[in-house]
Amino acid sequence: MMKSLKRLQEAIWPRFHRNDDEHLSPYYTFQDYRQTWGMTIFILMATALVPLVIMTLIYYQLIETSINTESLLRTERLASNARRAVTFFLEERLDALTFTVNEMGYDRLTNPGRLSEVLRNLKLGFGGLTDLSVIADTGTQVTYAGPFNLEGKDYSNQPWFLECQQHNACVSETFSGYRDVPHMVVAVKSVRADGRFFVLRATLETERLIQALSSYKTGEHADIFLVNREGLLQTPSQFYEGESHHMNIPLPAYADRTKAEMSVDKNGQPILIGYAFIDTNIAPTSFILMVVKQKAGMMKVWLDLRSHINWFFGVSAVIIAMVITLTSTVMVNKIFQADRQKAETMVAAERNSQLASIGQLAAGVAHEINNPLALINETAGYVKDLFTIKQQYKDDPDLVEHIDSIIDAVDRCGTITRQLLGFSRHFDVQTQPIDLKDMVADVINFHKKEAEYRDIKIHVDIPETIPLIETDRGKLQQIILNLVNNAFQAIANGCFLDIRAEMDGPEQVCLFIQDNGCGISEDHLNKVFEPFFTTKKEGQGTGLGLSITYGLVQKLHGNITVQSKTDQGTTFVVTLPVHIQKEILS
């Protein structure tokens, strides 16, 4: 359970985030693994997401452009169709009036009965007319046929009457006039036999025009209406009627053909405007046909689709980000672990090389000292011989004691030089199968008496599952002996010494030698394997025991580590291969 939690923590928050091994830093290939991790994620994200974002935006742009173009085209087509309908409506009625004045002449038309008959026929034939009237060149209405009684009214100042005189025909804007009802008129001018002119005027049924326009409406967001050139509404608008019957969207610029363009309404919402300036082939008009569509309405399908695409894109981006983060974390952690292993090897190699060079120096020094030491030994020995063998000064114990102390000192120095030489030299390893349990028992036997005397409890736990180790007997014995000696020196009377072993995988055995003695301070912990390093009092230790042990463990292709806390005790862990490969040894 704990292992799984640790593994999960390692996956989410790997070791390189913590950077807890300052001493390995100089050997790392990448100095800042967090930065490397961040950069990796950034580059991968950018590589994966930027093209995706750009492609999506281009796609959006393409779709929108295509929809806009299509919408403009459709609006223009609609405006064009509606224009044709309006133009046809007006021209049909102007043509009818023209035909009527030419066919019937002034005299017959001024007959009220005839005029009513003409109106009835026209209504039957074309429809869309409310009344008919004949107006003399003075502007006075001469004859009237229709629902209102407007005979004798003066139209001489009406704009449509003036325009009719000028163009021979006219189409008026919507106005209220004498009947006080908004309407529009069409009129044609004709010449009487006496050379004077008269005008035949008809009032159009605006409802019919409005209906005709409405039939072109497509969708709930479209609006079709007529305005004059000042923007005054000529037919009602569903959405765009502003103050005093003016439309509340910008008036389009003049164009002689149907056009469509993008614009915005008074709320700033995008709209499409299709428009046409309407002229008949008989008389000009001031009408502008307006087709207005709300863009949002037309884009709804696309906007819905875009919302789905955005969701899909968002979820994909989150999944990509998660996969990239996870993959980057795992990969960077793998690189970090490999780099860390390399750094540890470098540190170990550096320490080995340091120890080797110190070893070589030690060997040189030891050899140089050995010769004068041998001479001092022999000379002092000879002097002692003179006293003891020759019997001349046998009775002077003081003198003999002094010489003995010289020989003792030489002996002690000799021990040091022998250890130094042993430390520096590389020797062959002779392997044989060794039972670790028996070997530990043998070593403990050396210390049995001392342990009893000092009341030190020795606990050995080497399970039967530990296999025979193929290694060098003498060297392994010396390693264990040195470590046990070391522990005995570190612990006080009544303390304990715990020796246990366990397998580390199928190929390695770990031997733990643990005491609850004085411990090693943190400052000293890194130096314990260095030659001449000792915390013992002068003359009590050479400072070579652990460095020799270190060398021996290396020679057996093993590894030794130490963990210690001051006043709590020390644990040495020796890891050894179960089999030493002969070819490595040679």
């Binding site: 050995n370 030491l373 041998a374 000879y382 011989d385 063998i389 022998r418 030299r425 020797f427 003498g474």
Partner: protein, 127 residues
Amino acid sequence: MKVLLVDDEQKFALMLAKRLALRGIEAEVFFSGEKALDTVEQGHRFDVAILDVKMPGIGGIELKRRLGLLDERMKFVFLTGHGSKTDYTTGALEAENYLPKPLQIEELIETLNRLTDRPPGASDPDG
């Protein structure tokens, strides 16, 4: 017992010879392998040769080989300032009697007695 003592450390060799003499062992001292070889070639015979391993010219190992050719019965003891006895558990000196410097005189005497089959303590001049 006649002993051939060869060591380039002259004072050491002389002092050791004196100490052996005090114990009744006659040692002829040479400071180089070549001179020792000349002497044996001239027909001088020794029971044991005490040889320093490392010397200028002919070293102890080579000297042993050549002396062995001249006198098959000669026994050998090696002295050296390099390392401890356990260091030489294999190699050229494996089967030889080896004593590290500085010497323990008792150990040397015991080795010489063993090689010449003299009883222990035979070195005592009074014995």
